[in-house]
Symmetry: C2
Subunit: 390 residues, 2 copies
């Protein structure tokens, strides 16, 4: 009998997570969520000022090792402000992986700048540093200390690598490129809270890093995000312009620049404090789930689970199947079979350069991204799944 890959995948997933219908990623609220929310209501401090905002920022800084964390309303806002503070302005270009969530590209557009898409690598699913260096060497030149795209004449101001599904990119090689080509490096760590490179937390390598606490993330605040930085002055600037750029005064309302209302409400920060307390447990559970899936898929031919790159620790936010190239044509059949079986799965995002608003943006050759786009499938990944180890 010929093997039936879609059905084999359904069976392998069910052997780990059981037969009940499952979402892709659900949050868990088994800690102090209720206590802190109640405290928030009782204090009446539910909005933009409150002790949970300060605590959440401190807790995030402590957990990640960043010198400063600034809580904001979501990951998109964190990216937008980080790019602004990196000096990205109208007409600039910003290097992004073509294979990313829409927020990374939109944040560039909010700055009136243009995303410039580059290729990814199989190993981390993130920016390919080797291909990027070759590409920039061949297509850019330095003028007055700025990296100029020879094709468009525009300044390439920054790069935003993304740690896809929690797997850290090759950040050291990308930092070296940023240094050599005079680019600011902002890390989109929206998906990688808890992921480290040589023991150092993702999002703390570049000028700034950004986190997301959307409902589908490893921890959630309902909606929320944060900016990480080791530059105390930049941290102050980030706090200022995400809180309407109001100058402190007992009663006067004076704002000294165009600011943003990107404050995370205290109510949402309260949830975040409770969630962050459980993060080490969530990370243990997600790693165990990965190991269980990996064992279950050992005998399924034509597909494998994406594992953390060597030297890195992944948070295993979303468990990821990668079909062999010879089986890429079965992706949609796998998606249909799994979803029909009540197991929510999804492909990776459409490449950004395929979307109408970014179709004319500059781009590098994207052979790996185009291949990954056809082969990646995320499977149920909530941290409560799988059998609990003794």
């Amino acid at each position: 009998m010929p093997s039936n890959l879609p059905q084999d995948i359904v069976l392998a997933i069910k052997s780990v997570v059981g037969d009940a219908p499952l979402a892709l990623h659900e949050p868990r609220f088994n800690g102090n969520e209720w206590t802190y929310l109640k405290e928030c209501l009782d204090s009446t401090f539910v909005s933009s000022v409150g002790k949970f905002v300060d605590r959440f920022e401190d807790d995030l800084a402590n957990f990640t090792g960043a010198r400063r964390a600034v809580a904001v309303v979501n990951g998109t806002a964190a990216l937008h402000v980080s790019l602004l503070l990196a000096g990205v302005k109208s007409g600039d270009e910003v290097l992004l992986p073509a294979l990313t969530f829409i927020a990374t590209a939109n944040a560039v557009a909010y700055c009136q700048a243009t995303p410039h898409f580059v290729d990814s690598e199989d190993r981390s699913l993130g920016m390919d540093a080797v291909a990027l260096r070759d590409y920039l060497s061949g297509t850019t030149e330095m003028r007055s200390g700025q990296c100029i795209n020879r094709g468009t004449g525009c300044v390439i101001r920054a790069m935003v690598p993304m740690h896809t599904f929690g797997h850290p990119v090759d950040i050291d090689a990308l930092l070296a490129i940023a240094y050599d080509f005079h680019l600011h490096l902002i890390e989109d760590a929206a998906e990688s809270l808890g992921s480290t490179v040589a023991g150092r937390h993702t999002g703390t390598f570049g000028l700034m890093g950004t986190l997301s606490f959307n409902g589908n993330k490893t921890i959630t605040t309902g909606g929320g995000g944060a900016i990480l930085t080791n530059d105390i002055e930049l941290g102050k600037r980030a706090k200022h312009i995400t809180t309407t750029a109001k100058l402190p005064h007992r009663w006067h309302f004076v704002h000294d620049e165009v600011g943003y209302n990107y404050r995370l409400p205290n109510l949402n920060a309260a949830l975040g404090c409770a969630q962050l307390e459980q993060l080490p447990d969530f990370l243990r559970n997600k790693r165990r789930l990965f190991e269980q899936y990996q064992a279950a898929f050992a005998e399924v031919h034509g597909v494998h689970l994406v594992a953390e790159p060597a030297g890195c620790r992944s948070n295993y936010w979303l468990q990821t199947l990668l079909l062999d190239e010879s089986h890429a044509d079965q992706r949609d059949a796998v998606l249909a079979a799994t979803n029909d079986a009540g197991l929510m799965t999804r492909p990776i995002w459409a490449l950004m350069n395929r979307l109408p608003m970014y179709a004319n943006a500059p781009k590098a050759p994207l052979p790996v991204a185009e291949s990954l786009e056809q082969r990646v499938i995320n499977i149920p990944s909530s941290s409560g799944l799988g059998s609990v180890a003794p």
Copy 2:
């Protein structure tokens, strides 16, 4: 003995609200807040999708009479998207009162457009329609159906009157100006939930209206806002671009334009649903507090309370003292005396044209706004204050 206005004001306020220290405006959570928040946690739907978001939008539409309400992350986001949907673009000008909260002007800047500041009137503290018509008649001309500022050559695309502290502006006269000068009218109703003009809710007269549910507002969602419109197609467009412009699909991630992550989390919407149930009570309380303050200030010379304009119903969000012009020089002494006495008070905002980023923006003569800026003082306004009527 000469009268001591600052001390008289402290005594008048205390005669209504008592001797304890008071904030300017605190929320009250005496309804189903806790029940709904728990339900939210128990369902795990705390984020961008959930039944409370849908219900909150329906409840807002029902309460205001708008055909569609779209919940968003805050009032600033609501303004930004409304301006975008009104077609405001780079280089355009948008008419705003100089006397407004910073969000109104910033939302224009986010569209790469320029705020164009106009004067206010004593009666409502909002845009002066008579002065505006005179001003536009003298300084603009119509070209190809567009209103052109003769001074700058730019298109004036829209106007954004604001219902200051909940007092409705003269919306009929402003609509007539919008019609005559081919301007879109967006109502900034951030402060006027519950305020009506001839029985119709503020925010439902223009092309779109915006609400805010920040912690200091009549009802709060922690942070949140909404777009109101009677145009069902515009409502759909607003929902689409505030939710990242993703096309609905069982698993594909395709976005068809530059969208925004302006979704109100379900957690915050849950709070909003509970708050909205209590809004009629809050409004009754705030009106009673106004009447009590009015009685207490009847014998204080040199100052009066701002009352709702004829034909309008104000939500009395912030109770507002207006010093007589002859006593304007005592404003800072009043602010100091009241705040020193533990009664939080504040002046109105600095005029937008005084802020560095808007100092060069076009503006009409602003004699009334400049006078009001020196004479307005908000006093403690929480809906729980004052003695309860039998």
